[in-house]
Symmetry: C2
Subunit: 257 residues, 2 copies
DNA sequence: GTTTCATTGCGTCAACACGACACAATATAC
DNA sequence: GTATATTGTGTCGTGTTGACGCAATGAAAC
């Protein structure tokens, strides 16, 4: 199927396949070179970046739709994916904007067309291992790549707001659930894990206090110390104790009351 | 407008007024007699209880729709209302179920009718002052009343799941935001506040430790001690310091990292 | 009127968690 | 070897938390 055929089919048949007025958007976080990254894509002919998103098939659970979008972009499945908010403001659509976009593809639709209607979107955030992902475009997108969270460009519609809310939800999660298994390679050093936390929280942490607190969670296994080829003292390598990690995910970490 | 006219208009015109396939449901919490209550309603001719819900007008923000539903049922406005989850599973609709319900009203619709489609619903929970609420029915509902959270009857569709998730979100909120201003009368005693916390958490708390912790939040004002007509020693009365309360709502209470 | 007793206000104590910081061990660069 | 950056481990003071003691209060019982 060529690009134009694919777009044409979506335009014509979309309303028969998908739930109307509803979409899902994914904020896909990765971690690389000490930077928190987010996967963004640029639509064809549209000079603006946005979050990877998609529609929900009429007989498909919303969570599965998000999973599907995620898989299309990263090639991964069975990864950490969490719904964090539904965005239902009226400002979050722009009929002219979409119309202009479609016209660039030589497509003209009536103003009642389903793609031009107001959409509610359900936001999900995902944590993925950077090195395992190969960002991939599809027929509708021109580019798909990682962006440093601190350097994201202007985003379409309310996607900046969605991204901010996702980051806020991720920070909240640090307080009551373990983080890292989905963002780091299988073996990692304590400084790497700390850098991840510091990057997410956007503030420095004390090296020694961090180690003490993390180890007290009891979800890490210390391996033989390797990590060669590094300047200065060689740090230990750690891996997550999956059983304990999952248990901590289920039961939560600390908790006030 | 009679009941049947109202229903008829909804059946006929609803798809022109509302966003398709989308609804909002409200879990309205109240506190009375040491019990956490939730406001449920029973649809006409339907022998089952459910959460108060509604549809979203095509030009109406989802949050406003929830506020509207809340106001219709409680008469209150400007109250604490928080979105906590969107429910998008495919099991959450039952075409036959709805059809049977409509037939009891003498209404027959085609199977493509908008009301029979699969719906995604956005869940909100609200905290309201029990005494200020007068539960009210409307043309579509037969009954509307408070239920003890521990004695809720079987609920329609996935409403039990929604209720459970709301309660879980409320418990989470206790950990990082103050609670009580919306659930208690303006003046209250420390034991009353403690009972509220115990009821939400469904576990006993130490009287003295509770007082210490709550007072350290710095959001309470102690008044003259009154609370007459009570057996045994008369407890102090407290009220919330609204400025500090709002500040705590904004900034959060404690927080791990 | 005195006693009883559940309830409230206030305080104590040990255990633990947390932030700030010291010091020795180790591996690379020169 | 020496310098230097980084890591592993420990300490110390502070504040928070959980468990509990005790005196004060005021309606109810006698």
């Amino acid at each position: 199927m060529t690009k134009n055929e694919a777009i044409g089919a979506l335009i014509e048949e979309g309303q028969n396949w998908f739930l109307p007025s509803l979409s899902v958007d994914c904020v896909i976080f990765g971690f690389h070179d000490g930077e928190l990254k987010v996967l963004l894509l640029k639509h064809r002919h549209r000079n603006m970046w946005g979050l990877p998103g998609g529609f929900v098939y009429k007989d498909e659970p919303a969570d599965v739709a998000a999973q599907r979008v995620l898989q299309e972009r990263t090639g991964l499945h069975e990864i950490f994916l969490q719904q964090f908010h539904a965005f239902g403001d009226t400002e979050r659509y722009d009929k002219d904007f979409h119309n202009r976009d479609l016209k660039k593809d030589g497509i003209t639709v009536r103003s009642e067309h389903w793609l031009l209607q107001r959409f509610i979107t359900i936001g999900y955030y995902a944590l993925v291992e950077f090195s395992k992902v190969s960002p991939s475009e599809d027929t509708l997108t021109e580019k798909c790549m990682w962006w440093d969270i601190r350097k994201v460009p202007a985003l379409m519609l309310d996607h900046k707001k969605i991204l901010d809310k996702a980051l806020q939800a991720l920070r909240m999660q640090l307080n009551y659930q373990p983080i890292g298994y989905n963002l780091l390679p299988e073996k990692f050093t304590m400084p790497e894990l700390q850098k991840l936390y510091e990057t997410i929280l956007d503030k420095p942490l004390d090296r020694r206090n961090f180690q003490r607190k993390i180890l007290n969670y009891g979800i890490l296994c210390r391996l033989k110390e390797i990590k060669k080829g590094v300047a200065h003292k060689a740090p230990y390598l750690y891996s997550f104790d999956l059983n304990r990690y999952r248990e901590a995910l289920r039961a939560g970490l600390q908790g006030g009351w």
